[in-house]
């Protein structure tokens, strides 16, 4: 797996602020649970132990989160150019 396929988590939070206003994030033991408009993505990785301040998340997870929460893909790509 290449590191170019990863996105810092802080960028993901910024994207969600813009593209999913009103979304909620719950920190669980293994994953973040992200909910928006009655839909949920319960498996956003928290990162490896010891690297949880701003872990880098594989972009496939973010791509799938965008689809699961039915976000505007153009908005997501505008804020996360790595998804293009």
């Amino acid at each position: 797996m290449t590191t170019s396929g990863r996105i810092p988590l802080k960028q993901v939070w910024k994207m969600l602020e813009r593209c999913a206003p009103g979304h909620e994030v719950v920190v669980r033991e293994h994953n973040f649970l992200v909910t928006y408009n009655g839909l949920s993505y319960p498996s956003l990785p928290r990162g490896e132990h010891g690297k949880r301040q701003n872990p880098e998340i594989e972009k496939g997870h973010i791509r799938h989160l965008v689809r699961q929460l039915e976000l505007d893909p153009d908005c997501a790509k505008r804020h996360l150019p790595q998804l293009r």
Binding site: S40, S43, R67
Partner: protein, 154 residues
Amino acid sequence: MTRYPILFGFRDLVAGSGFVASIATEGRALLTDEGDDGFWMYGVNPGGIAGSGSTPVEAQTDFRQRYKSVLFDIASASRDFEQFKATVERFFHEVNKPTAKEWDAAVQEVREGKVYADWLLTGKADAPRHVEVVEVQEPEARVNALDEQPAIAA
């Protein structure tokens, strides 16, 4: 990008607050070859999980692990079995709609012979998908079960 429509069957025993639950899932996922980004397995139902790896088997293994981690998260957040069962059922039935469309298209590609995977069993694409969550009242060896072999849907 090659994509494979996958059928899977997972069997789990999960402990929570005052209960042990047996969870049997018959789900759907889309396995894709994304070149430099490796292989990805995206959930259709349950839709909220994805896994990756440098080989198809690694991606399936990571997907399986992420699925289990969500069950553990739900167990940790549930006050009793009823809440656990309801949350797992909601998790399973939340279909990832865009990925479901891709899954249907991938099934068509398999049927047309454009995609094949001799390393997988073949299953019926229209086989019912479901989740069964049962409280284990009397734990004994007969409640143990192995996962089903993943299959390509056709």
